[in-house]
Symmetry: C2
Subunit: 134 residues, 2 copies
Amino acid sequence: MNIGEAARRSGLSAKTIRYYEDTGLIAPAARAENGYRDYSDTDVHKLRFVRHARGLGFSVDECSQLLSLYQDKTRQSADVKAIAEKHLSDVEDKIRELEELRNTLSHLVTCCHGDTRPDCPILEGIAEGVEEKA
Amino acid sequence: MNIGEAARRSGLSAKTIRYYEDTGLIAPAARAENGYRDYSDTDVHKLRFVRHARGLGFSVDECSQLLSLYQDKTRQSADVKAIAEKHLSDVEDKIRELEELRNTLSHLVTCCHGDTRPDCPILEGIAEGVEEKA
DNA sequence: CTTGCCCTTCCAGTCACTGGAAGCTTAAAT
DNA sequence: ATTTAAGCTTCCAGTGACTGGAAGGGCAAG
């Protein structure tokens, strides 16, 4: 099948598929006689795998590792788990960071009366470096 | 003072300060006779303001708006509040998104025994599109 | 035979920097 | 006085993960 059909079935855009090929995340596709890329069902399956992994927030590099492991029938599940645990811990760090941010912002927003007067606790807070408390 | 000193006092890198100037976030600095950028305490104050705003996750564009408002003594606090509320709501969306991610990942990680055997629920989950549930 | 869609490659832009090269000035150490 | 080191200047390139667009070729239907 052509790249358009592979895109439709995998949920990735044709652009993205070409990009993944260019950067080596996926192997170069076979080519039909007219030079068009030619995808098999197996290819689409791998593309879907990558889309799901990206959807889980794994970097393209992590996806590359996961895809290798996925295709390696002698893999050790511990290797996969290590990548996932690292990513999970990154996600948790990011959540904590954003929660601090949310608390600071929400504090500033509730302090501001938000009317036509010029005095604004939000700007004052930023000027004084409110987030340093976090 | 030179850019290095301004960097030290504002907490931004010299590179970043030049970048902010190039992109118009801050006004071009005055120049000394030798061509070096020359910063005043007021300049440093504005740089610190920008650093704090960026630290709160405002985009450079939002910082530009906030800085304009900060320097506009006739501003209306409602204008500032609108920017901050929009940003707060973006942050809250991102938190929710990451929490879903964390739940899915954490589920996959706890399902995986993580030993030397090749069968791995994480890879299976990704292949089958676990995150679709979210 | 032409319309219109699909495919190809390549280049540029996004965001917010960061790194590095090449070439100044200035200050300190010898 | 000289050398070295640091600091400044500009400009170009790279990051991550795409996305948009231009220029050109392929292919089926009307």
